[in-house]
Symmetry: C2
Subunit: 353 residues, 2 copies
């Protein structure tokens, strides 16, 4: 159980100086071949590897990026992480993960823990509470200290940084247009409260689709749900709200839901009410997760390509980190969505953007 060997120990053992060892290991030609071989053999024997922390201190960079997301038990976010990790690893970076758990305080604490030298930059998606409070001081402070940030999905105009988003508006609009082309006359929307801006944009996309088709949006067809948390209790109340909407408005023949859970729940409730899918009612969700894929019938949904989002955020961040004095203007990259057609809608078209 020998501890990790250091340059100093090798130097002492071989009776040379630390500098010599360091240079020998880097094949510096300042060092004679004899010494080089001797040192390298010894180092290999004892499996010498330079200490990352010492390197970080010396180089003032850690080759590590911090990722702060609201939740990891969530198909979209874990896909994004996978994309980040993929790209970062390829570039020799590590990924350190903080979960805000949708809480403002935990977001701040996590950022504080990491912002003091542990990482070279942040990738983050804003927590709901922060969005609601509209308190973004911690982001600005971090940026002012020279630490680059890239935001994705849940972003906010107030912060100047690189961003990677999905075209929520277009994606939603296309989804609803596909319902319209599929002969839906009365299309409902199940969405979140407006402070979640991805929900807001998807709602706007729904409205836009209706308007371009000369449909008149009816407020009875719009359900704004308080929270998308999955606790059993909320799931029940979600079911009840949907049931109420569908029974009060039996003419509804299409549903666009801003996430998988709402969509699958709508499907469940509709069937319980005796409606056939997709003949009586067609349903489209958002996020191509495991639920959509394995539901029966399969759920037509808007795919966000989370992994691509992750790769792109990592790419933007690492670029910023590595050419630091390069004052490029901040970019906002939009990753196109794709409508994945499955059995919850009728099969007579393909739309994508």
């Amino acid at each position: 159980m020998r501890r990790k060997i250091t340059l100093k120990q090798i130097a002492r053992e071989l009776d040379v100086s630390i500098s010599t060892v360091s240079k020998a290991l880097k094949n510096s030609k300042e060092i004679s071949e004899d010494t080089r071989e001797k040192v390298q053999a010894f180092a290999k024997l004892y499996n010498y590897k330079p200490n990352n922390i010492a390197l970080s201190l010396k180089n003032r960079k850690t080759k590590t990026i911090g990722v702060i997301i609201p939740d990891i038990v969530h198909h979209f976010f874990s896909k994004v992480i996978r994309g980040i990790e993929l790209y970062a690893n390829k570039k020799g970076y590590n990924v350190i993960v903080g979960l805000s758990n949708e809480s403002f305080d935990k977001e701040v604490i996590n950022m504080d823990m990491l912002a003091n030298g542990s990482i070279d930059g942040f990738i983050l998606s804003i927590s709901k509470e922060t969005l609601q409070l509209q308190d973004y001081h911690h982001f600005n402070e971090t940026i002012n200290q020279g630490m680059p940030i890239v935001m994705f999905d849940r972003v906010v105009n107030e912060i100047e940084c690189d961003k990677v988003i999905v075209d929520d508006f277009e994606g939603a609009k296309n989804a609803v247009l596909s319902l319209i082309k599929n002969d839906c006359r009365n299309i409902a929307l199940i969405t979140t409260k407006d402070y979640v801006n991805v929900g807001k944009y998807r709602t706007q996309g729904y409205m836009a689709a209706l308007e371009t088709s000369d449909y008149v949006p009816k407020t009875e067809y719009v359900l704004k749900v308080e929270d998308e948390s999955l606790s059993e209790y909320n799931l029940l109340s979600l079911e009840n709200e949907i049931k109420e909407m569908l029974t009060n408005n039996p003419e509804i023949d299409g549903v666009f839901a801003v996430n998988e859970i709402y969509a699958i729940t709508a499907m469940k409730v509709a069937r319980r009410l005796g409606k056939k899918i997709p003949n009586d009612i067609q349903i489209v969700g958002f996020t191509d997760g495991v639920i959509s894929r394995h539901a029966v019938p399969g759920l037509t949904t808007v795919s966000q390509h989370g992994e691509k989002i992750g790769e792109k955020t990592a790419e933007l961040l690492i670029n910023r980190i590595e050419k630091e004095d390069d004052f490029e203007p901040f970019k906002t990259v939009v990753i196109p969505t794709e409508l994945i057609i499955r059995e919850s809608t009728k099969q007579n078209l393909t739309v994508s953007n």
Copy 2:
């Protein structure tokens, strides 16, 4: 865009020594009240925070733990991460995540990246390829360098370290016993190849349940699937294999599947074959993920309590890290499973262990 301020800069600015600044900030009473206040005011003004990397180097510990898992887009693993993060954060630790993507090489590379000073200990679950190759040298080397490891779920006897596992055997046995008590006479098993040892133990649990009930296991009822990866192609071949088993053995009235995907797919296939669930055929899965919860009908399943597993691994690891010279024997903690009864089985009992 001022860079982070350091002790040295404060010292120069205030015309005192670095030591004085350091002590003043720690409220050492070696320092006069005057100086203390002056330093603290200045530090607060410039938002001084000690550099973590420097501290890590000095203290020779990083307050960071490395987690290596095969996949993050996976309900169970992301739950575990959440548990790890929860406990670790409470103890002031950060979590750095590496994904092996079920590959031996990536597992080794990831461990190498982290083992050189970046972290104080590992939490990991072994990749399938490593399990198949049975090459565990990288684990042993890491342990020999004095770095503690805690393994969970996919563990292996050959490595001496703390472990946290689910009682796969008992969980599976109970699940199958519940089917038997529910009057199933012909129970099929859908499992993985044997090198995935959690699959192996669950298979053994199935066998044990049959034996204790004087059922004779039939090989026609056992389906060993090559790979649980979710690609569309494999999903189709999975469906076909299940279909074949169910049509060749129409008397099958119960299915135990070693994961959610197999279970939900079995359900899908069974219904396509005109079988009613749970009346004609009852189905039990393993892992209480989002699929089981949102399936229609809801899937009865064995819950592993991933979050608890995560918390426990973190607890074991941090204990090892913090009392380092304490030569406690290695523990293996078993987290009890729980059978979550939903609509895919008949409703006349509750079993748990």
